[in-house]
Assembly symmetry: C2
Homo-oligomer: 188 residues x 2
DNA sequence: AGCATTTCTTAAACTACTTTAATTTTATTC
DNA sequence: GAATAAAATTAAAGTAGTTTAAGAAATGCT
């Protein structure tokens, strides 16, 4: 649980007592590689703070093809946060790309912490803000960057991840074909 | 103010008294065509509910080129909502594309309504959720649609707007050159 | 109303990216 | 550890989108 405490403290100051109350509400779970943690239209029962491993979040386009929206790795939050909070059905799919260990929290405990610990409410607001910021940044990149520039940015944003996951998943994230990504990599 | 009341009521049920308290906190303002309502790094003093006209929200890329992120028209909210709420400096630029009339609300009054009127807090949560949903949808479109498909979707999402604003702004929103948009339109 | 400026269109040449398909390399499974 | 499946590479041909440039149309300005 230390990782989660550290993550919270990196954004705001909070007493150790309150951190204990928060971390007690989380349960550690393991997901083997390839397992689906969530499929779209499922009820969103929990969200995750990842301790080890990595996952991809993807959606289907109108033709039924998968597109990766985000990857998540150590010390990142992931999950269909919006639909979790709203109690609406999932719009995302989430799949482990490695054997993954994560802390999970139920809606009930989440709501309890929101009410009881103002710092937790603040923290979640920061999480949402960061997500929103990342989304806007990505929209800008998609309309203003070439595939190569997006790939370079990916390498920065997700250090080492390119060695851990398959290139077809990176290509899907970038919105290009695996063949073209392969070509971009050769050029360097 | 009727438009704003109707907009709120379209998402949740609320008493007329509370609606009156809410709408009293808004001030109507006019912005002539071409005027900037916000520039990045400005302090975000207000957000807007638009009664007539339209505006564009744009950002600069690393090369200093402008890219339109959203358009807003009658009965839409706009403004740099995230940075307004957080008190952080603007990351967006906003410019009127037509003579525009909008209701504006200050941070002070916004915070007052959030505290006093639970329905308003709920309403703003819905606004954020919709924005987030729209962003994710746009990311998916950018990585999975062709320019022509994005243009068709734009026409649906912003009915009649294509007759009101210049094509170069639409091209910028779609992430293509005005010349290519012109070609797409001819084809039909 | 008339001149200047901006926007739109067209077309030709170019570049970024896709498709298809065959081959090699890497991972998975029994 | 061999067999099978999945992923990555390469290359050729095709398509989507850009660039440049020049003329036409629309808009803004006094």
């Amino acid at each position: 649980m230390k990782e989660l405490s550290e993550h919270i403290k990196s954004f705001l100051s909070i007493s150790e007592d309150k951190l204990t109350i928060i971390t007690e509400k989380f349960v550690q779970k393991n997901f083997p590689k390839k397992e689906h943690l969530l499929r779209s239209s499922d009820r969103v029962r929990e969200v995750y703070f990842i301790l080890s491993g990595c996952v991809r979040t993807y959606v289907y386009d109108v033709n039924g093809a998968e597109h990766n929206i985000t990857f998540s790795m150590e010390n990142w939050w992931f999950g269909d946060l919006q639909n979790f909070v709203n109690g609406s059905p999932a719009s995302h799919n989430i799949q482990a790309l490695e054997d993954t260990t994560a802390l999970t929290i139920s809606k009930q405990n989440w709501d309890f912490l929101l009410q009881e610990i103002p710092e937790f409410a603040n923290y979640t607001r920061i999480l949402f803000r960061n997500t929103m910021f990342a989304h806007e940044n990505r929209i800008l990149q998609n309309i203003s960057f070439t595939a190569e520039e997006r790939y370079q940015y990916f390498l920065k944003q997700y250090p080492n991840l390119s060695q851990r996951i398959s290139q077809k998943h990176i290509a899907s994230y970038l919105g290009i074909t695996p063949e073209f990504l392969s070509m971009l990599r050769r050029k360097k």
